[in-house]
């Protein structure tokens, strides 16, 4: 049974249609990556799945429950978590407060979750008293992911988590994302660094003008000559 099923999504801004029957699915313990050229609708697909953009048609279900009518906040309560590409931490709050705010809607004790996140991202424990705005780009992204994980989501959505970080930091972030996946969470991410992202992807979606062009395992997409030539620069 697939955790997230987004089928035949059609959506856009005003009259401009960005998504043309785009379909995305992710399962627990899996990483799905959406790649594609600029303007292909990658981020728009994420927004639509998270409910920040209304669908004209199509369906989205999480754990076999229809969620396309829910607000983003309600989707968080259903087990979705979203890490935006920019402004994804509270810069004036300490790392620890960022995590606490991530778990704001939880009524139960959040200390266990917080400790798990600290063991997943040891650097955050070291910097827990520091304001998130003072951290480096890569550390900030870890705070952002940590904040999103505080609700103990079943689906973690990342919008270009490696935008603007060095290749070294990118590798580390991807390692962390694999660890997150290994805890049984479904990970859906949009990536600009297509090659590296597909290397860790269980499923890859290549979007072109809002349509699914290729869908396969990450490995198979990397091996496909047409995909390599057209989208991965040879």
């Amino acid at each position: 049974m697939t955790l997230l099923k987004a089928e035949a999504m059609i959506a856009g801004y005003g009259k401009t249609r960005i998504l043309n029957e785009c379909s995305i699915a992710v399962d627990r313990g899996e990483i799905a990556v959406i790649v594609g050229p600029n303007g292909a609708g990658k981020s728009t697909a994420m927004k639509a799945i998270f409910g920040m953009l209304p669908l004209e048609s199509g369906s989205i279900s999480l754990d076999d429950k229809n969620i396309e009518k829910l607000s983003p906040q309600d989707r968080v309560a259903q087990g979705m978590a979203f890490v935006p590409q920019t402004s994804n931490v509270f810069v004036s709050l300490s790392v620890e407060e960022n995590l606490e705010m991530g778990g704001f809607i939880r009524e139960d004790d959040i200390n266990n979750t917080r400790d798990q996140i600290y063991s997943l991202f040891p650097i955050l424990y070291e910097k827990r008293k520091q304001a998130a705005g003072e951290l480096s780009g890569g550390q900030r992204q870890q705070v952002a992911v940590g904040r999103a994980l505080m609700t103990e989501p079943t689906l973690l959505m990342l919008d270009e988590p490696t935008a603007g970080v060095s290749p070294l930091v990118m590798d580390e972030l991807f390692d962390r994302i694999i660890e997150v996946r290994n805890t049984g969470i479904a990970v859906l991410m949009v990536e600009q660094n297509a090659k590296q992202a597909l290397e860790i992807a269980d499923t890859g979606y290549v979007l072109v003008s809002g349509e699914n062009r290729f869908t396969d395992t990450g490995e198979a997409l990397l091996a496909d000559t047409e995909v390599r030539k057209t989208f991965l620069g040879g």
Partner: protein, 338 residues
């Protein structure tokens, strides 16, 4: 000779330090309210001064009623007993104005300047209400013991020719302001609700993603701001006297305090409050007597040795405000840029 130095120090304490601490506390409380509204609701609230008059007015009405019943607090001003009434009135005023005015502009996602203009309207309405209910005149409503330390007793005790006097209202202002600020900072730094306010102020979209309810944040902000408004208004009125127009005039030094410290930054508001208060007092004080004690006789000054007449005290906040906006627009403690 050493007595001369002590006398000079007493003069400075009596005319600058003590009044500066009291006035600074009042400005700091006012600036805190302004800065909180700016940080969370994202506009400069021009109705702040007149709302202070509104809260103080209800405290005065309560005080008069208590006095007519023969209830008093002994050496402390009766107004302290009536302060909760003023706080409730100020909170209600803030919440009602939010419902009637600001909420509409929030839903429209209006620009900050629209909010500012709307708050000017709220200012005129509040101002009219206050004048209508209690009148435009001066009102002294402080009772109880007048002084904590009297100048004459101080002179006798220490055998100095200069005396230090501390008014009860000055001491109370300082103590209450410190308690109020400590509670506010504890709330913002330590409680989940306080942190959610800071988170909302920091990044509204991310706060929404985290499930922080904006309506609740707005409500709590107005409750805190209303409380600060009433306390600041009453303390100022007790220390000086209550006159609706002076509260409108307080807007400038309070805004200057908030901006100098870094608007949106509560610590900055407190720092700015004291900076503005001490500058105003230090620049308009006549140093003649102070210098007579310190300088050898042949250099004794003839004039008052006053940099600016007290009539110009508002110019001081204005000059500091302009200087900060030119050279450090985010304020001393790096608030948001205006």
């Amino acid at each position: 000779m050493s007595n001369d130095i002590l006398n000079a120090l007493v003069i400075i304490s009596n005319y600058i330090l003590v009044p500066g601490l009291a006035y600074g506390s009042q400005l700091a409380l006012g600036a805190l309210g302004i800065t909180l509204v700016y940080a969370v609701l994202r506009f400069s609230n021009f109705a702040h001064g007149d709302s202070m008059a509104f809260g103080a007015m209800f405290t005065i009405l309560g005080t008069t009623w208590l006095q007519s019943k023969g209830i008093s607090l002994g050496p402390l001003p009766t107004a302290l007993l009536a302060l909760p009434l003023g706080i409730i009135a100020a909170i209600l005023l803030c919440l009602i104005m939010d419902k009637l005015v600001y909420q509409h502009y929030r839903q429209q996602k209006s620009t900050p300047v629209m909010f500012v203009i709307a708050s000017v309207g709220v200012m005129f309405i509040t101002n009219g209400l206050v004048r209508f209910i209690i009148g435009p005149g001066d009102r002294a409503f402080s009772d109880g013991q007048r002084f904590i330390i009297k100048a004459r007793e101080f002179k006798r005790m220490y055998g100095l020719s200069e005396g230090l006097s501390i008014k009860m209202t000055q001491g109370l202002t300082f103590v209450i302001a410190i308690i109020a600020m400590a509670l506010l900072f504890w709330f913002l730094q330590r409680t989940k609700t306080g942190k959610s306010m800071r988170a909302y102020s920091d990044n509204e979209d991310l706060a929404l993603l985290s499930g922080i309810n904006p309506q609740r944040v707005v409500f709590i902000t107005w409750v805190i701001v209303g409380t600060l408004i009433a306390i600041a208004g009453v303390l100022y009125g007790l220390d000086k006297s209550f006159k609706p127009f002076t509260y409108f005039q307080l807007l400038l030094p309070m805004f200057a305090a908030a901006i100098v410290g870094g608007i949106g930054n509560p610590v900055g508001a407190v720092l700015g409050g004291f900076i503005i208060a001490f500058s105003e007092i230090a620049v308009t004080y006549a140093y003649r007597k102070f210098l007579i004690y310190l300088l050898p006789e042949q250099y004794e000054p003839d004039g008052l040795m006053q940099l600016l007449s007290t009539d110009y005290k508002f110019a001081v906040s204005f000059m500091i405000l302009v200087a900060v906006l030119i050279w450090r627009p985010t304020g001393l403690l790096r608030g948001k840029s205006i």
